[in-house]
C-alpha cells in the first residue's frame, strides 16, 4: 500500500511540475505588455521600461519561470500588477468563498444523487426508474448558469427567500454565509447530481448481474441484502472515478456561477484579472485550481486502494 501511495505521490508531483510549465508558457504567449497596460496609453517609453525592469519582466523566460516556481513553493505568489498587493493574500480571501461553495455543491449532489441512483437501479424498468432517467436527462441538459438565473427569479425576486446575489462574509456568521451560498450551490449541483445518479444507476445495474451476486442469493440472501452487501460496494468503484472527474467540472462551473451571483470568489478574480491583463494573478489562480484537481485525483487513487484490495500489494 505504501509503495502504491508513494508512486501516486511521485506522479502527482510530476504532473504539477509539467502543468506549471504549460501554464507559464501559455501566459507567456499572451500578446500585450503588462507594464504598458498598467501605466496607460500616455505613459512615456522610459517609464514603461523602468516598470518592466522593476517587475522583472526583462529577464529571460527560463529565469522568470524558475523564480516563479521557486516562489510558489515558498508560498509567495508574487505581487498583483493591478492591485499592488500580494497575490497570496487575495487568493486566500477568495478561496474562503469558492472552496465552501464547491464542497457545499459536492455534498448536495452526492447526497441526492447516490440514493436516487440506487433506488432507480433496484426498481429497474418500473415507473420510478423511467422517472429518474427522464429527470436526469433533463438535469444534464440544463446549463447551470441559466438554472441559476431561474432560481434567482423564483426564489429571490418572487418569493424573496434568498437574496439575488452577493456574499456577506463569514464574519456575519456561518448561517448567513451558507444562506448566501445555497442558491449557487443548488445551481452547481443540479447537472452534477444528474450525471452522478445515472452513473450510480448503471454501475449498480452492471454489478447486480455479476456472478458473486448470484452466489450471494444462492446462500440465502434476499435481493435487498445481496444488493446492499455485495453489488453496491462494487458499484461504488466506477462512481468514485466519476466523482473525482466531476470535481474539476465543479470548479469550472463555479467560475461562471460566481458571475451570476456576484460572489467574491476565485472565478470573479480570474475574470477581472484577465480583463486587466494581470497575468500574475491569472497564473496563480490557474495553478491553484490545477493543483486542486490533481490533488483530488490523488485522493481518488488512494480511495480506490482503500476500497479495492486488488490494488494493494500482496503480503
Amino acid at each position: 500500500m505504501l509503495a502504491y501511495a508513494l508512486r501516486r505521490l511521485l506522479s502527482l508531483a510530476a504532473s504539477l511540475a509539467v502543468a506549471s510549465v504549460v501554464v507559464f508558457a501559455a501566459i507567456e504567449i499572451v500578446p500585450g505588455d503588462p507594464a504598458a497596460y498598467m501605466l496607460g496609453m500616455n505613459a512615456s517609453p522610459e517609464a514603461v521600461a523602468a516598470l518592466r525592469a522593476q517587475l522583472g519582466l526583462d529577464a529571460g523566460p527560463v529565469e522568470r519561470y524558475a523564480d516563479w516556481a521557486a516562489g510558489m513553493l515558498r508560498g509567495d505568489f508574487g505581487v498583483s500588477y493591478t492591485y499592488r498587493t500580494p497575490v497570496a493574500g487575495m487568493v486566500a480571501d477568495r478561496l474562503w468563498v469558492s472552496l465552501p461553495l464547491a464542497v457545499y455543491a459536492l455534498a448536495l449532489s452526492t447526497l441526492i444523487a447516490l440514493p436516487v441512483g440506487v433506488w432507480a437501479a433496484s426498481r429497474r424498468g418500473a415507473a420510478v426508474d423511467a422517472g429518474v432517467m427522464g429527470a436526469t436527462q433533463l438535469g444534464v441538459a440544463v446549463p447551470n448558469f441559466w438554472f441559476a438565473m431561474l432560481l434567482v427569479l423564483v426564489f429571490a425576486v418572487n418569493l424573496r427567500w434568498f437574496s439575488a446575489g452577493g456574499f456577506p462574509g463569514w464574519s456575519e456568521g456561518v448561517r448567513a454565509g451558507l444562506k448566501a451560498l445555497t442558491l449557487p450551490a443548488i445551481a452547481l449541483a443540479l447537472p452534477q447530481a444528474s450525471i452522478l445518479a445515472r452513473v450510480m444507476r448503471s454501475a449498480l445495474i452492471e454489478t447486480l448481474g455479476d456472478d458473486y451476486v448470484r452466489t450471494a442469493r444462492a446462500k440465502g440472501l434476499t435481493r435487498g441484502q445481496a444488493l446492499r452487501r455485495h453489488a453496491l460496494r462494487n458499484a461504488l468503484i466506477p462512481v468514485l472515478t466519476i466523482l473525482g472527474l466531476q470535481f474539476s467540472f465543479l470548479l469550472a462551473g463555479a467560475i461562471i456561477i460566481e458571475n451570476v451571483f456576484f460572489l467574491p470568489g476565485l472565478g470573479r478574480l480570474v475574470f477581472q484579472a484577465i480583463a486587466a491583463r494581470d497575468l500574475i494573478v491569472v497564473e496563480s489562480v490557474v495553478m491553484l485550481l490545477v493543483f486542486a484537481v490533481i490533488l483530488v485525483t490523488f485522493a481518488v487513487d488512494l480511495a480506490y486502494a482503500a476500497v479495492d484490495p486488488r490494488l494493494r500489494r500482496r503480503h
Partner: protein, 271 residues
C-alpha cells in the same frame, strides 16, 4: 428505431434545420434595431417577444443556433480527427514510449478543468467563435484518445486480430481494417455526447463574453444580456435557455437511442 432515438433525432434535427434555414430567411432581420418595439412580451407578431433593442427574439434564436451548432460540430471534428488516431496508435503500440507519451498527455489535459482551458485560450487569443472552437476542440482530443485507446486495447486481445496477424498484416493495417470499424458505434455515440457538451460549453463561453462577438447573436450572450432584466422581461432569459436545453436534450436522447440501436447484441437478436 427506439422512441428515444426518434424524439432525440426530431429535436436535434429541428434545431439543425432552424440553423440552416436561418441563412436563407428569418422572420425579422436580427441586425435591425427597432427601439420603438423594445421589450415586448411574446405576442402574435413577435412569437418570443423582443429584446431591449427591439430585436425579435425568435429570429435571434434561429441565428444563434448557427453559432452553437457550428462551434460544437467543428470541435467534435477536431476531437475525433486528432483523438481517434492518437488512441489507435497508443493501443497498437501498447507499452511503448509513444503509448506512455499519449497517456501522459491525456492526463495532463484532464488536469485542467475544461472550461478553464477554454477561458484561458479565449482570453489569451482574444474572444471569437474560432477560438471557442479551438478551446473546446482541444479538450475533446484526450476524451476521444482515451476512449479509443481503451476500447481498442480490448479488441487487440481478440482472436480475430491474432488471425489477421497470422495472415501477415501489420499493426497499422489491422487498426484500419479491423479495429476502427468495430469502434464506429462507440465513437458515434460518444460523438453525439461530446456534441451536446460542446453546445453547453459554447453557451458558457458566450455567457462570459468569450465566444462569438457582437453583432453575431449567440444563445449564451443573449442570456448574459437578459440577466439584468430578468425581473421585468423574463422571456428574454427563458427562450434562449429553453433552446439550449432542447438541443442538448435532443442530442443526448439521440446518443442513447443510437447506443441501443447499434449494440451488436441487440442487432444479432434482430438479424
Amino acid at each position: 428505431m427506439t422512441r428515444n432515438l426518434r424524439i432525440g433525432a426530431a429535436l436535434a434535427g429541428a434545431f439543425a434545420l432552424a440553423a440552416l434555414a436561418s441563412f436563407v430567411w428569418t422572420p425579422y432581420d436580427v441586425a435591425a434595431l427597432d427601439i420603438a418595439a423594445r421589450l415586448q412580451p411574446p405576442s402574435a407578431t413577435h412569437w418570443f417577444g423582443t429584446d431591449h433593442f427591439g430585436r425579435d427574439v425568435f429570429s435571434m434564436i434561429l441565428v444563434g443556433a448557427r453559432v452553437s451548432l457550428a462551434v460544437a460540430l467543428v470541435a467534435v471534428g477536431i476531437g475525433m480527427g486528432l483523438g481517434v488516431p492518437l488512441g489507435l496508435a497508443a493501443a497498437a503500440t501498447r507499452g511503448s514510449m509513444l503509448d506512455e507519451a499519449i497517456m501522459r498527455g491525456n492526463d495532463l489535459v484532464f488536469a485542467f478543468p475544461a472550461l478553464l482551458i477554454a477561458i484561458l485560450i479565449t482570453a489569451a487569443l482574444g474572444p471569437s467563435a474560432l477560438n471557442a472552437i479551438i478551446a473546446i476542440g482541444v479538450f475533446n482530443i484526450p476524451v476521444f484518445a482515451r476512449l479509443t485507446r481503451g476500447a481498442a486495447l480490448s479488441l487487440w486481445s481478440r482472436d480475430f486480430v491474432l488471425a489477421a496477424r497470422v495472415a501477415g498484416k501489420g499493426r497499422a493495417r489491422i487498426s484500419a481494417e479491423h479495429i476502427l470499424p468495430n469502434l464506429s458505434s462507440l465513437l458515434i455515440v460518444q460523438g453525439t455526447i461530446q456534441f451536446s457538451l460542446g453546445i453547453l460549453a459554447e453557451a458558457g463561453l458566450s455567457y462570459v463574453g468569450l465566444g462569438a462577438q457582437p453583432p453575431t447573436p449567440s444563445w449564451g450572450r443573449m442570456l448574459a444580456e437578459a440577466q439584468t432584466m430578468i425581473a421585468f422581461a423574463p422571456w428574454l432569459a427563458l427562450f434562449p435557455g429553453l433552446a439550449i436545453v432542447a438541443t442538448v436534450l435532443g442530442l443526448n436522447l439521440m446518443g442513447d437511442g443510437l447506443r441501443d440501436a447499434l449494440d451488436p447484441r441487440i442487432r444479432r437478436a434482430r438479424a
